[in-house]
Structures are given as C-alpha cells and as structure tokens.
Amino acid sequence: METQQDLSAEINAIGDAYARAVKDGAPAETQPRLDYAPYRSSILRHPTKSLHHADPETIELYSPAFGHQDVHALEADLTIQHNGEPQGERIIVAGKVLDGDGRPVAGQLVEIWQANASGRYIHKRDQHPAPLDPNFTGVGRCITGPDGSYKFTTIKPGAYPWKNHVNAWRPAHIHFSMFGTDFTQRIVTQMYFPGDQLFPLDPIYQSIVDQDARDRLVATYDHELTQPEWALGYNWDIVLTGSKRTWTENEALGAAGDEE
C-alpha cells in the first residue's frame, strides 16, 4: 500500500503545477477538483467530460422550503441529545449563510454531522478502534435566522484515520449541508479548525488546490463567541454561489424567510 510520502509527492506536484499556472495567468480555482487522483476513491467517480454550461430554469431558480415544523430548536445543540454530557471540548460554531451578493439566506436548512471527540462516527462502516460515546450522536440541524445566522453547540471532533493510504488521517472537521434560495446553490462541504497540522497531508482538503479557497473552509477562533466557564467559540461564514433569480424587494430584504 502507498505511504504518506507517495501521496504527499502527488499532492505537492499538483499544487506546484497549479501555482505555476496561476503565475502564468490562469484564473484562481475556487472549488475542489473533481479529478483529484490523490483521493483514490475519486478516480472512477469523477466525470471526464467538462460540466455542461446551462442557464438555470424554473424549478432550479427556487429552493425547497423548510421551516420550524421540520426542525426542532433543540436539534442545534448536539450536547443534549442523551442522558449525560458527551466527552470532549465543548464548542459553539456560529456564522452566517450568505449568497454571492452578500444577501443573508434566511429561513433555510443547515445540517451537520461529525465524529465524536475520539474521532469515531456512529456509523456501522466506521472501523476506527476508538471509543463510541453513548452521549454523543454527532448530528445537528437548524434553520437560519432572518440575518442568515446559524449556531450549533457541539464538541470538538477528533481527527480520524482512513484507508486512502498507509497512515492517512483526516484533519478534524464538521460536515455541513446547506441550501440557498436557488437549488443551484446547494452545497455540502466540511468545516475545519485553524492550525491543523494534518492540512498539508490530507487529499480531501488539498483537492482544493488554491490556498485562499482552502482557507474559506477553516473556521476562526472567536473569543467573543466563547462563553465563560462553558464553551470555546468558532466563527465560520458560508458563501453560496450567486442567486440567478430576479429578486422582488421583499425577498431581497429577507421577508421571504421563515421568521417564526
């Protein structure tokens, strides 16, 4: 099986080629490469033809509606889903969901899932021999406020090993799923923590070849968000692709959001 050295050589070669291309005038890349061989499972799972440009039409210019009927307010606190307190470092992760024009995405669904403090998921396919935590499931949901804000209370997830290559470890991360005002803004991504030493080694994080773009997935430690004697705060804003819809004035002001 391949070593981290083999993988890192591939990752660095792709990174160097990108840096040269940018120097020669190529535009900065803002999304991960679909064709990124260092993540081995992607080799047979990326389209080989380029994506076909299309103008979004009708249904694509709208998003499904979610409301407080769909999500209970307590689902935003991942530390109270069981009888006891989960192990680990309690954290608050908060920020805003914005569209490409800086408009808040109000009343929309945000879903998260993550490993526990030991780096173990409650998932039958997770074979990592680290302890499960009977007091932590690692799934949360919320509906954004009128200003696009979201806020979760959880514990800091641990790094975990995976089988991409020998000694492959994922940097600690929280999976995020968001909707915009247009279905074409749908995004699933991962939020990371600042200063993680595993960043240069991880083919999933490195599949975004541009450093500025990668930085957009890293939360900021926010002492204003930190609560005394209680939890550390991290801030992370999400920017969706621009809305193509022609907005009415009320929608632009966020009045279409679910503000119960």
Binding site: Q31, Y39, A54, H123, F183, T184
Partner: protein, 188 residues
C-alpha cells in the same frame, strides 16, 4: 438593500464522505408522496462508476414542480404529514447502487415546456456535488425545443431522458464516468 458592487467568492464544496448515512437520511425522505397514493409513480435507477460498477455510497436529491407544473413552496419535507407535496426528496442508494423515489410526474412549468426534475448527486469519492436533470420521455416536440437538450449531441442528450416503465414509473441511471457518462451541469 444597498447596491452590492463586490461579489463574494463562494465557499468550496467537499465530498459528502462515507459517513453521511446516519445524518442525512430520515424517515420517508424519498417519499414525496405516499407509495400507492393516486398519481404516485416510482422513480428509480442505479448510480454507476467509471468501471460500470454500482456505487453503493451515493445519495441523491430531487426537486420538482407538482403534476400541474406549479413550483411548490410548502415546508414539511423533513417531517412529512402524508398529504402535503413539497416537491423535494432525498434518497440514498442501497448496496446495489439503486435509489428509489415515490413522486409524481412533474408538469410543464409553462405551456409547451418539457417537464423535468432537478437532481443533485453526492457520493463518497465525488469531490463536489453534481447537478443534472431528469426529463420525462413523452413529449417529443417539447424535448426538441428544450434549450438545454437542444444544445447537446443526441448521444449525450439521451442521458438526461428517463425511460417509462410498464407500471408507469420512471427509470433513470447516473453514470459518473465513461461510456454513457451523464451530462452534469454548471450553472455559473
């Protein structure tokens, strides 16, 4: 709202990974309508990789107008009441790569338009979500006039049109790579 002159740069996507299975699926996630209810159809298909093997860890979402072509603005997709059609659903594939939805045939959103279902595909090993469309096979005239379909070669165009099953349902497969590769869309 003040005039925005600077566009913000979008946050990158990342793979859904292997462990979404205890987080994203929920009860009746793939039942936009109760199975067997009047007007309901089964939409099903298989997700394949570049070797032609089924992908056992993919998850799809569909978003569509109702049977009359109306774009629905009803909440309640996550806690379905059994009566409200919300137009959106989520379906994970099983071990054999097969997904299933219970839904309705989407109606045309304007007279003479080709009805379609908007689809987003996520999978372990897929770095970012992929958008595509499922068109109904029936109205040849509407399909011929459709702006997206008419911009594609006949061979590629076929990948976006579902087959009608004998029971009235629809079958539509996703081929992530290689022969018969599905047309995936870029809206930017």
């Amino acid at each position: 709202m003040s005039n925005q002159t600077t566009k913000l740069v979008p946050t990158p996507g990342q793979t859904v990974g292997p462990f979404y299975g205890y987080a994203l699926p929920y009860e009746k996630d793939n039942e936009l309508l109760a199975p067997g209810s009047p007007g309901s159809i089964r939409l099903q298909g298989t997700v394949y990789d570049g070797a032609g093997e089924p992908v056992p860890d993919a998850i799809l979402e569909i978003w569509q107008p109702d049977a009359d072509g109306n774009i629905v603005k009803q909440t309640g997709s996550l806690v379905r009441d059994g009566y409200t059609f919300t137009g959106w659903g989520r379906g994970s594939v099983g071990y054999s790569g097969v997904y299933t939805f219970t839904t309705v045939n989407p109606g045309p959103t304007s007279p003479g338009a080709a009805p379609f279902i908007s689809v987003v595909v996520f999978a372990r090993g897929l770095m970012n979500r992929l958008f595509t469309r499922i068109y109904l096979p029936e109205n040849q005239e509407a399909l011929a006039k459709d702006p997206l379909l008419s911009s594609l070669d006949p061979e590629r165009r076929r990948t976006l049109i579902a087959r009608r099953d004998p029971d009235g349902g629809l079958t539509w497969d996703v081929r992530l790579q290689g022969e018969g590769e599905t047309v995936f869309l870029d809206f930017q």
